[in-house]
Amino acid sequence: MHFTSTESNSSLDAGRAPLPDRNPVQRSSRWRVVDIVTASVLGVAAGVIFWAWGLAWGPLSTALAFTPGLGGLLAGGWLFAGVLGGLVIRKPGAAIYTEVVAAAVSALIGTVWGFETLIWGLIQGVGAEIIFALFFYRSFRLWVALLAGAGAGVAVGFLDTTFTSYAALDAGAKLTYFVSAVVSGTVLAGLLSWFAVRGLAATGALSRFASGNQTRARARRAG
């Protein structure tokens, strides 16, 4: 992540002519205050949803227990924060930051996994971040979102089948769990986040972000 203390892109400058830009590529990856606050807010909102998902996970995983490993289908509920943050903020580190804040908030409210949540959040965030980085933070289309969700799914699939009680399952069940987690990440984290960002952009709430402007511009062209 690259943070600087200069703020030339703040809303105070909105009415003035843009200042000459020495390095436009680097500038686009700088975090403004509004980026940090919005990423934090998305992280906090996601953290509350993570916590609620953790409560629902108990009965839901029992319902899926008839096939060992299908519990992985629920993993996506903890993966969407990173994809959502990455899609909205569109800056390096956004996916990791949002997912870690979400994990920290859910751990602070209280989950049975406690401190482990933070490690999971970090690695899941890295899983999504790598995909956005592979596209140089330039492309945020549906299939990039799906890939980012799948990337987070690979991360959680690896963590869960290696470092939790699922490590005690036999190889077939572990593979089922891994594939379920990737599918869940792709659908719950990738697809739903992409639709959420589209819905948010349509309301105009993302007008201060590239994600909102691009979607609205596309909608205007279509209309």
Partner: protein, 269 residues
Amino acid sequence: MSAALDPYSTRPGVTARHFLHALNPLAKIAGPLPFMVYLLFVRDIATPLAFACLALLLVTVGARLTPRLGIALWLGLPLVVGVLSLSFGLWTDASRVDHTPLLFQLGDYRFFLGAWLIGLATALRLGALLSLALIAGLTMTGPDLVRALVQHLHVPYRIGYTALAAYRFVPRFRHELDGIRHAHRVRGIAGGRGPLAALRRYLGYIVPLLVGAIRHAERVALAMDSRAFGAFETRTERYLVPLRARDWIFAAAFWVIGASVIVGTARLG
């Protein structure tokens, strides 16, 4: 003498005896942290049990606990660990433990003692991690942690304080959610009764809630920008969160005691 770090708002009932409240948050995290990582990789029962007891004793002696919290820690936590040990045990691959005594059988499903012991070890690890996290969690405040991170670990204050401001949004979300529910009800968007209608109703809250959150974030960012937040490399603090000799002593003592717990349980096992 007040035991709290913040001289402007002391918590009622915290006295000098509750020494954990007077320590730097970083010391309370640095002490247990290596053992929390270690606990992720242990598979026996004695080690997490010993660490859970150590953490609970420390919290009971050094933190101000309400009677309800004390009961939750000493009775509730073991109960949760017990229930989790059964549910984790149910997941364990039976073929790996079928040489151990059979506890019960339901149709084709057989529950072995070995499966329960693996479940117990996992549940105890979670319990121990939670107890260790409570040493810092129960005795520090978010602002103090952020101040300590900024002052001693050189975390950029722009991130620290912004994340802190965002954590205050949790109560704000509840307020927003109430408003959205009322607005939906006024417009007659009830969707009928039953769990499916309730699910659809809750899904309908997500986008308005996120929109409200982002708008609020924009206003906060605007307010911070207009007060020149982030204009300088450093900033002043309302009060300092010092790293004193007592903090080093606490962390070092915790490491020594934790290491001897590991050695002791290894000898026993």
